[in-house]
């Protein structure tokens, strides 16, 4: 016969298992993630055409002496790696929010066409107005991302069955096709921007404009902080609209804020690095696999893992066809597309 006390203990323990790991473990895990992120960052800075010893890398960051090596580190590799880190984090968090919001395992800013919307808006503004100041440029990226997000959301929820993963993905990919062909038309009409923009359009963190990055950075940081603050309501919303309303959540507000955050994050990521795909799709799944469905932890983990993944992809993009580089966006597609197929097979029911 089982003792009553052990039964009670079993009952007390099991809900916690379902919700997630214990707090202490989560903190340690996050610290570990940050450590890996830091190692990836240093590796990314160390790798490159010129062989530079890690000690020199540290010296360049702590005691800058103006030598060529230190200059390379400070002006080329450091910005590139930081951009990869921030863009990865932003896209991953945007994807996590979208998957929670739409309760759709295939949702991410690139699959739903939000990235292409931002990219198209930026190409359009370059074409129509020529050189514009950075804030205007970034503003258009937000506008494009926002309009596409709304359009996909509306198209995806047409019909009696409401929003289904398939409709959302189909609407997203049709919009991506459309925006891609419009972008292509503009680029063909305006040959001058073509060469300048082609690498960016494939998604790349190499040779980006540092001043643009510094201007976009506040948007990303604000977006990330807002996202982290939304952990609790998002966890509730992920239970389903009815349950969330029943628990007293103002779902309308949460949704609107979440969309704003996604647009902020995806728009600024695209503005600086072009439409990089699949980071926003893969990372949330990995994070959810590691820690469960608690968005208070899921979001910071996603940010960390997104940074790690994009840094690794960027290192890979430099190595795979050495000495040539391929845009990091192509790397993430090569990794991410099979993962997408896997998800479509395992997570989408007829």
């Amino acid at each position: 016969m089982v003792k009553p006390s052990s039964l009670i203990r079993e009952k007390a323990r099991s809900p916690q298992k379902v919700i997630g790991r214990s707090q202490a473990l989560l903190v340690v895990g996050l610290a570990l993630c940050l450590l890996v992120l830091f190692i990836c960052l240093i590796t990314s800075i160390t790798f490159g055409a010129a062989e530079i010893h890690p000690n020199t890398v540290f010296a360049a960051l702590t005691a800058f002496d103006g030598s060529t090596e230190h200059l390379i580190i400070r002006t080329v590799r450091m910005p590139r790696s930081l951009i990869a880190l921030m863009v990865g984090a932003a896209l991953a968090v945007a994807g996590t929010i979208l998957q929670g919001l739409t309760r759709n395992p295939l949702a991410s800013p690139d699959i739903l066409g939000i990235n292409s919307g931002a990219a198209f808006a930026m190409v359009l503004v370059l074409f129509l107005l020529g050189g514009v100041s950075a804030p205007v440029y970034v503003g258009f990226a937000f506008l494009g991302a926002g309009l596409t997000a709304i359009a996909v959301y509306l198209l995806g929820s047409l019909g009696r069955s409401g929003m289904t993963p398939l409709k959302l993905v189909l609407a997203g990919s049709a919009l991506t096709y459309l925006l891609f062909s419009l972008t292509t038309s503009i680029l063909i009409l305006d040959q001058e921007t073509l060469d300048e923009i082609r690498f960016w359009l494939a998604g790349s963190v190499a040779g980006r404009d540092v001043s643009l990055f510094l201007q976009v950075l506040p948007c990303m940081v604000v977006g990330l902080l807002m996202a982290f603050a939304m952990g609790k309501p998002l966890t509730t919303l992920a239970l389903g609209e009815d349950v969330a309303t029943g628990l007293g959540l103002k779902t309308g507000w949460v949704k609107v804020t979440a969309i704003v955050v996604v647009v902020l994050l995806a728009g600024s990521a695209v503005a600086i690095a072009g439409p990089i795909s699949f980071i926003g799709l893969i990372v949330p799944h990995v994070a959810r696999f590691l820690i469960g469905t608690d968005y208070r932890w899921l979001l910071p983990y996603s940010a960390c893992l997104g940074g790690i993944l994009l840094l690794l992809a960027d290192i890979g993009a430099r190595l795979i066809l050495k000495p040539q580089e391929i845009p990091v966006g192509i790397m993430t597609s090569l990794l991410g597309a099979p993962f997408f197929i896997y998800l479509a097979r395992s997570r989408v029911k007829r």
Binding site: L106, K167, A174, L178, S181, I326, I330, S333, L334, A337
Partner: protein, 345 residues
Amino acid sequence: MNHWITVRSRQISFRIDRRVPIVLVVLGLITLAIVLLSLGQGEYPISPIDVLKTLLKIETDNADYDFIIHTLRLPRALIAFLVGVGFAISGAILQGITRNPLAAPDIIGINAGASVVAVSFIVLFPSVPGFVLPIAAFAGAFVAAILIYLLAWDGGSSPIRLILIGVGIAAFTNAVISVMLTFGQINSVSQAWIWITGSVYGRSWEHLLPLLPWLIVLIPLALLLSRDLNVLHLGDDVARGVGSRVEWQRVLLLITSVALTGASVATAGTVGFVGLMAPHLARQLVGTAYEGLLPTAALMGGMITVLADLLGRTLFAPTELPCGVITATIGAPYFLYLLYQNRHQ
């Protein structure tokens, strides 16, 4: 009143919708008009009358016309037309065997398979003769088709997963194409764009010849199989009930469709959405019976591509837009419209 025209002979019997002959004639005339316009259009404009005279080998005032039309413009227009025909028939067959109104070779990723192999061939073996390319593209399309079918298999092929997996395959192959273009020596941007967007730019007789045998074999085959397609469209159980060898017919039809796509992609890259639009427009004109639908869709596809090429050359002349960009700009909203139409499924 009788809706059908029935044709019977000892070997073969079929019936077509009464509307079909009229629609075919009208579509043919419109296509011919567009081709004449298209042949006259360009850096060196020629009036449609002179175009017609040159085509019929009647003497015109200008001796250059013969060269411009027969050597430069006619192969391009013909290729645009034939490629459109190929994509349209391929799309119509796919929609029939998957019973999915949104299926088309480009949407479920068969185009992507063909184009990745074709691009790899051009990059890795730049000196291959022209006739190899369609074979390679066919192989690529075929592998992609098998892969998609297997990956989408879930105790029966589910239309939903078919499309989702196609989206994934297309994303992957596009990345591989980009790697190839970075890695390879295709420095001219126009060459690269042909494959990415689909274009008949600079196509000449030497590109047309490798395409022809495929179409000559496959189009009659598709028409012969159209009766089976009608039966398959009713569903596997019904088809089996009336005595169809379902799996065998489906495989044969799939091969036909894939081969048509492969040959078309090898010639002009991925001209998107023609295979989606043409069958739907044709169905609105002549109904769903495949004996009439296939030829109508074929003409419609040819017309769309020729028109897209003409628009691409004239809209922003002298700059030229690839016809694939035009078809995608029209086709993507059309796809969204179809999505709206099918919203309750």
